[in-house]
Amino acid sequence: MKRHLLSAADLTRDDAELVLSTAAELRSLADRPIKKLPALRGRTVVNLFFEDSTRTRISFEAAAKRLSADVINFSAKGSSLSKGESLKDTALTLEAMGADAVVVRHGASGAPHRLAHSGWVRSSVVNAGDGTHEHPTQALLDAFTMSRHLGQGKTGSLDGRRVAIVGDVLHSRVARSNALLLATLGAEVTLVAPPTLLPVGVDSWPVETSYDLDAVLPKADAVMMLRVQRERMHGGFFPTAREYSRRYGLDGRRMATLQDHTIVMHPGPMVRGMEISAEVADSDRSVIVEQVTNGVAVRMAVLYLLLGGAQPGGEE
């Protein structure tokens, strides 16, 4: 693996499968009474969050702590864009404190890339979501979840599995990372959105696209619903929330057209009644809560592999 995890494109198929198999081993920890391994004892992981994100931050925090790393949480409230140099100054501070890994969430696309390549820090950088660019650990935990439910063979391969990613692809870092990672893992991805919410140049991505959710659903093995932020309405991307919901929301009627084994996913936080109805979110097909559990295991695997700890469970 590379030293940093900035984009899902940084992962070869071997890398991704190593993360997923390591996560599977670490996942079993969650069911033990003592959930801790000594693998990263004495190492320091900094959670550097320039954007509010409760679930991703606590997921990384739990992951690092279960590997016995020291964790420093740093949340810079407010927009760093109004004081652009703060990313650099914060990074220099963390470097001086001796961070081994920096987990960064930032509102600006490419901020983790800058952190990793500007010479400001020597530590490994993990992208925990940057602007409208990428969120690679979310894609890994999504792939991990899919693999547990849909995977074939001993390795849980996703080869040929059909995944529909539905919603605001244009502004979604989750969609970008998932499209890249799932293609690497051999799955067939279809992005479903109104044309206004698909990025320019999407035809060069390793995916299919569709404007018609009803046509895509019966063939899907997994349906991933993306959050639609209400402020997008002011940008005129679609006329009303009601119309969006009618054309691109997943409700009970649409859920009935899915195959029996098809799972429903959502990276959270959900806007119930907008892109997903409560009936669907709380149904047996929904693996949304499990995604959160798997997130910890996947982030443990990422930190463990980047920081080159000892074999998980192999000592002490």
Binding site: R173, V200, G201
Partner: protein
């Protein structure tokens, strides 16, 4: 210091080597000089050097008043002299904005005091660049600065009525409106060229159509009211075509291309290093090729630098927090050699037209942009096209360091610049 320079064996506009004699601010001889006829003459061996008329930049940001941490008239004109320029047009987006006679006269006077090149202030089209009402264009035209170029550069005069009125109004003093063509609603929050890469990088796109739509509209407006229009920093293939068609129809439109748009492409944004962040953004390879072709066939009249200094902290940050713009004065001629002269798209006479005669004509600057001939003001550059150099930002005369060419090897070097017969650069160094 000598007031008489005999330049031996120089190739004027790339022609056969000959001699050039500058005295008392004017060219007194072009051709073999056996006896310069005065004692104080200084002789320069210019074997292998090309003589060009002093370059004229129609688009420079000198940042003074207001952002003297980025550039001053003094430092910016030193950079200009090093780049072979004898005249620059200082853009109006200063703080305060150059929208009154007082501010343009201040900039003009600072230029005269610095003395490294002539400074022609550009006046703002609208008060405070706000795009709401016309600034006192006539007062700026009548001031000591004699403003003839008006621009809200950095912002687009997007209101069609206001643009029409500005185009009409400046006819009274033979002025020109230089439009920063950027449809504001199509480019809200825009960070880079809209295309395949912006979608991948998650950076908000700046679509070509946002430039082209404004240029098309302005060409039609200029045609309708019979005014002349200048288009700043044309960056897309579509814009080149629109200007080409307007010229063919007889519209009085001129256009500029920036050196960086002739050589760099949007792929550099993948580094997320905002040294490559500029407005309009770096475009695709196809756009670069179209700009070169347009500059070669005269659709694009001039090269203008859009020299835009920024302090280090405004570039040493994440992409979306960074300022737009890059340095250009000291590398412009080298980029034009690399992209136009060496590939055979333009000869040295063509460079003189695009970087001296034409910008002086558009700006109505009488004493610059004149052919090197007896009696003309002695504004001359001596340029060595045979050497190659690696760009080192710390060598810049600018107060800022935001050159996108750091570490890049470029051809050519300015050996000497003469402003009215007085050297501002000699032996490659500022005088």
């Amino acid at each position: 210091m000598s007031t008489s320079y005999l330049i031996r064996n120089v190739s004027v506009l790339g022609g056969e080597p000959t001699d050039l004699h500058l005295r008392d601010g004017v060219v007194v001889a072009v051709g073999a000089v056996s006896d310069p006829g005065d004692g104080g003459v200084e002789t320069i061996d210019a074997t292998g050097l090309v003589a060009l008329p002093g370059l004229v930049d129609l688009h420079t940001h000198l940042r003074e008043p207001g952002r003297e941490d980025a550039e001053t008239v003094e430092s910016g004109t030193r950079a200009a002299a090093r780049g072979g320029f004898t005249a620059v047009h200082a853009m109006a987006n200063t703080e305060p904005v150059a929208d009154t006679a007082g501010v343009v006269e201040q900039v003009w006077r600072l230029g005269r005091e610095a003395g490294h090149c002539d400074v022609y202030p550009v006046g703002a089209v609208t008060v405070g660049l706000q795009g709401e009402r016309l600034a006192e264009l006539g007062a700026m035209a009548d001031s000591a600065a004699r403003v003839r170029v008006f621009s809200d550069d950095g912002k687009c005069v997007s209101d069609a009525v206001l643009m029409r009125r500005a185009l009409e109004y400046v006819k009274a003093f033979d002025g020109v409106v230089a439009q920063h063509a950027q449809e504001p609603r199509l480019t809200e929050g825009a960070q880079m060229n809209e295309g395949e890469l912006s979608g991948k990088l998650g950076l908000a796109g700046w679509p070509a159509v946002a430039e082209e739509a404004v240029i098309a509209r302005d060409c039609l407006l200029a045609e309708h009211v019979g005014s002349r229009l200048h288009v700043c920093h044309v960056s897309t293939a579509g814009s080149v075509q629109i200007v080409r068609e307007a010229k063919a129809r007889g519209v009085d439109v001129t256009a500029e291309a920036c050196p960086h748009h002739l050589i760099l492409t949007d792929e550099l944004a993948a580094t997320y290093d905002p040294i490559y962040k500029v407005n309009p953004p770096l475009r695709t390879r196809a756009d670069v090729e179209a700009l070169r072709a347009g500059l070669a066939d005269g659709t694009i009249d001039i090269v203008a630098t859009d020299h835009a200094p920024h302090p280090h902290e405004d570039k040493d940050c994440e992409w979306s927090a960074a300022a737009f713009g890059m340095l250009g004065l000291e590398t412009a001629l080298s980029i034009v050699q690399e992209t136009m002269v060496d590939p055979g798209l333009l000869d040295w006479a063509g460079v003189a037209e695009r970087m001296s005669y034409a910008p002086a004509r558009i700006g109505r600057v009488a004493d610059h942009g004149r052919p090197i001939e007896v009696g003309a003001p002695a504004n001359v550059v001596l340029y060595d096209p045979s050497v190659r150099r690696t760009v080192d930002p710390t060598e810049s005369a600018s107060l800022s360091r935001n050159t996108p060419y750091r570490g890049m090897e470029l051809p050519g070097r300015v050996v000497a610049t003469f402003l009215r017969g007085r050297p501002t650069v000699l032996a490659g160094a500022l005088v």
